[in-house]
Symmetry: C2
Subunit: 554 residues, 2 copies
């Protein structure tokens, strides 16, 4: 019994923002029973993952131990916490537990991926407790930017853990449960071994602002508008969507939700009772008949996503609706780092249409869903844990949170993805490093981030691609070699088509090549590639990717 | 004579930030004489221009009229104003005029591109005047974030123009000339027909801050550091580099400049007398012998550029130097939109090394080089022009600047790249739209942005590439078709190699294909491509780019 250990292992979300996946385990080394907290996605970009559809944690480590997983617990319904359940369920096979609103979203995801939605069990908030192996787990309500976000209270044989999930300390979040210091003091009273704590906003020095603080600003802005009003925000921020809709109604406008995610989130909130009421809405067809000054569109695409409603509206038309000179477009959102180009593109397109754009630059129309530095301190002080493990953030966030803990005399550890932390004793210590990684959803296939597939795509994008075709008959070249170019300039230094120069150089080489080279596919391919790259370098100053196709007739 | 017209035509920089190039012309329609103001570059990104080295304006319109160009005037030495002179000089062939510091940089650029540096003529500041065709042009000193930035005073037969270039109103820029309201009142007194005016910071509501306001903050920060200090900023901001170096010296540190651009800019400033003195510096080799607490590195790469000194230091080592726990890294710069990912990558790498990072989030360590909204109003009021033409900015900036002018009762016009504005009369009017575009420097070749070369690279990056190889002998398939894959998953739905499934499907098709198809290269290629895409879609959920290579032996 003394050889049992309590471990914490982030497989995603620690050392990055997004793709959250945390493992807790208890038992003898190598025989621990596990629970998994969150299975989220992150989003690809052209720089590092062109053509990829979604990114999620490589769960190979868990898959190899799937018979030891007693449950998957989802803290809330943001994509970076729940988005990968459809893609990973078959590998893990463990039951999924979460609260009603998140369950509604999660079941739809499983269904879309052909998994029986009954894999998800709906759990009520604390004090309801799920027994998962040696763990007792409860969902503790906490405010965030989505309904029913929850921390997890995890009782283990060696003490209580609290995994905050994403959170802020909002006394009036409008939808969902407020920050409840009485409840949190109560659950902390027995003593908390470790607080595993969101780090996202550790660099924000002022206390966070309440969701409710925005309503007067938003109402004032919409009241001042003459023509059509279009507002976008994160669809999952149901409180914000409601605030926007109510402000529109108060200004005498009909409300139209545009974009699938926007409709789905409001529907899920209503179905699960999270939202008791929502202003009446009209469909996109009916919206076309409403005078522009009496209409407000609530649209998806606050991050500049190319296919979302806002991008399509900015680009010309969406569901028959067009924007016009004097319309007001509100970004009730912040731009997540990395999405700036897409958002700016939309703002400029709106500018070309004569649409007036208001964003969160003034701080009046958006608040963050994460705890700022002083709020983190309130959490530390309320829970008064033996250990703090900074979680959910890039390395700089985890380290800053760690330094904050140290400055307060709290024990803490920086644990990035793959760092297995032993929490059994009084001090956290690194038990081992586990190989972790990213899995790409590419079309309908899952590939490893390091499989080389995407690396080859990036190379073709940077360098272009030359295909060299050679036919040999009884080890003698039959005709001349033939090149196809893709993604390369047609003409270089010599002002003669590059393809002609390449073919000539390759032909000259084949004429000179000895039988030994011509008989050896690997050697021949290597030489042809070298010549192609060298000639290209001198002609166009680039070394392309080269595929050599040797056909032998004999 | 009454048919003469005065025109303004932006070919770059209006409707975007970067790649500045403006044309002024005077004369009978179609026979105007021209001057060109600035020939700048903009930088490629993976999203829209993978593999491209530099982007500059398509100067085809000018090239077709090169015998009517009387001079190229460069306002200042930022890359987005001077970067393209080497690449475009041979197309335009016109003499280049600029002030000493900019000339120093410009000549080096021409030299690197094999152009005789004597093409650049050094001009003193106003009141020296260059006669260029019917224009009289002077360089009017104005503060910015680089030495000797200048507005252009352009006297035309129908009135005076002022082209601001990039500017701010800094009473104490530390290096270079201060904003001089007396001088500007003097040059405006005769009456100014049109002010062509920087719009970059029109959304910044507070008056701009002086370069000199940073010195105490920077000095305080560096004094507080125990270990090595590393600071990065835009190398061309010589005043900032000097402030940083002086703060380092004041704290008893040896100063080492790292990165070619940093050394070059300081050298150019000293050579041209712009900088009278600069603290003594030591070379990278000597820096290795200095105790870390007595050393300060001034490095390039504030925008996260992968090859710059800061990226290499963050990544491990640069010129023998490594960073350590407790070092202080200062970004005395802002991150230009679009560069966030690269900068954040470096900050996280520094965090992993235990280096403490300070950026401009607090506003203490960086000021902008552009005029904010109230400063633009001061400029409008000082010059009191008949017309304001917003320049240098994305569409949203130009439009906001235009709205600002309208609100003050000033005549104004939004003119994006390609909009030829007739300034002859009392009101600006659009004369015509000229086709404009971007030229890519790709390796050593110049290609048009719309040539399709880069589009094909993007497609390969998103979709992967399949090469299909078929050999026909007297219109009969010889052997089986053969595929090569690049950038595609090896295995799809069927759990069999994708290449095998593709080859089998193509083989089946060839067996069934009639002589008519087999004899027709275009038809055969089309069918083989369709099958490849269809099979790939069902196997891996993606439709790849396909190159079909048909070899006929007869």
């Amino acid at each position: 019994m003394s050889s049992n250990r309590l471990i914490y292992l982030p497989l995603g979300g620690a050392g990055e923002v997004g793709m959250n996946c945390y493992v807790y385990g208890y038992g003898p080394e190598g025989k621990e029973r596990f629970i998994v907290v969150d299975l989220g996605v992150t989003f690809p970009d052209m720089d590092s993952s062109p053509g990829v559809d979604l990114i999620f944690p490589d769960v190979e480590w868990l898959e190899a131990r799937k018979n030891r997983i007693d449950g998957v617990f989802i803290t809330h319904a943001h994509e970076d916490h729940v988005g990968a359940i459809g893609h990973t369920f078959s590998k893990l096979g463990a039951p999924i537990f979460t609260r009603a609103f998140t369950a509604n979203i999660a079941r739809r995801k499983l269904d879309e991926y052909g998994v029986d939605p009954s894999a998800v069990t709906t759990v009520s908030a604390y004090p309801e407790t799920i027994t998962a192996g040696t763990f007792e787990v409860s969902f503790v309500p906490i405010s965030h930017s989505i309904p029913e976000s929850s921390a997890l209270l995890i009782d283990t044989p060696v003490g209580r853990l609290i995994h905050t999930g994403d959170f802020k300390l909002d006394p009036d979040p409008l939808v969902g449960e407020a920050w409840d210091p009485v409840l949190w003091t109560e659950i902390s009273k027995p003593g908390v071994k470790a607080l595993i704590c969101d780090s996202t906003n550790v660099f924000s020095k002022d206390a966070g602002r309440s969701e409710s603080s925005l309503a007067p600003n938003i109402r004032g802005l919409i009241e001042s508008a003459d023509q059509m009003v279009i507002a976008t925000t994160f669809a999952s921020n149901v409180a914000r969507v409601k605030t926007l809709a109510e402000a529109g109604r108060a200004a005498g406008r009909s409300i139209c939700l545009m974009g699938r995610a926007m409709q789905r989130m409001v529907q899920a909130a209503l179905e699960t009772g999270v939202l008791a009421d929502f202003p009446p809405t009209i469909g996109p067809e009916d919206a076309l008949d409403v005078p522009r000054g009496n209409l407000m569109l609530l649209v998806t695409g606050s991050q500049g996503e190319r296919r979302a409603a806002s991008a399509q509206l900015a680009n010309g038309k969406y569901r028959g609706m067009t924007l016009k000179e004097g319309d007001l477009f509100l970004f009730s959102s912040k731009t997540i780092p990395g999405n700036e180009r897409g958002v700016i593109r939309i703002i400029n397109q709106l500018s070309e249409l004569g649409v007036d754009v208001v964003d969160d630059a003034s701080g009046q129309y958006h608040v963050s869903g994460h705890a700022n530095r002083p709020d983190l301190e309130v959490m530390h002080d309320t829970v008064a844990p033996q250990i703090v493990v900074p979680m959910h953030g890039e390395h700089r966030h985890l380290r800053e949170h760690h330094k904050l803990c140290q400055s307060k005399g709290l024990q803490s550890i920086v644990a990035v993805n793959g760092t297995m932390v032993d929490l059994t004793g009084n001090a956290p210590k690194v038990a081992e490093f586990v190989e972790t990684g990213r899995t790409y959803l590419d079309g309908s296939t899952q590939i490893g981030a390091l499989d080389g597939v995407v690396r080859n795509r990036i190379r073709m994008a940077l360098n272009g691609h030359v295909m060299v075709n050679v036919i040999l008959d009884e080890d003698e070249p039959l005709g001349e070699p033939w090149c196809e170019l893709m993604g390369l300039p047609e003409v270089g230094e010599s002002r003669v088509p590059l393809v002609d120069i390449l073919e000539e150089d390759l032909h000259q080489f084949l004429m000179r090549a000895g039988g030994k080279t011509l008989r050896d596919d690997a050697k021949l391919e290597d030489e042809l590639r070298k010549i192609t790259r060298r000639t290209s370098q001198s002609e166009i100053g680039k070394k392309p990717e080269v595929t050599v196709i040797i056909s032998r007739l004999n």
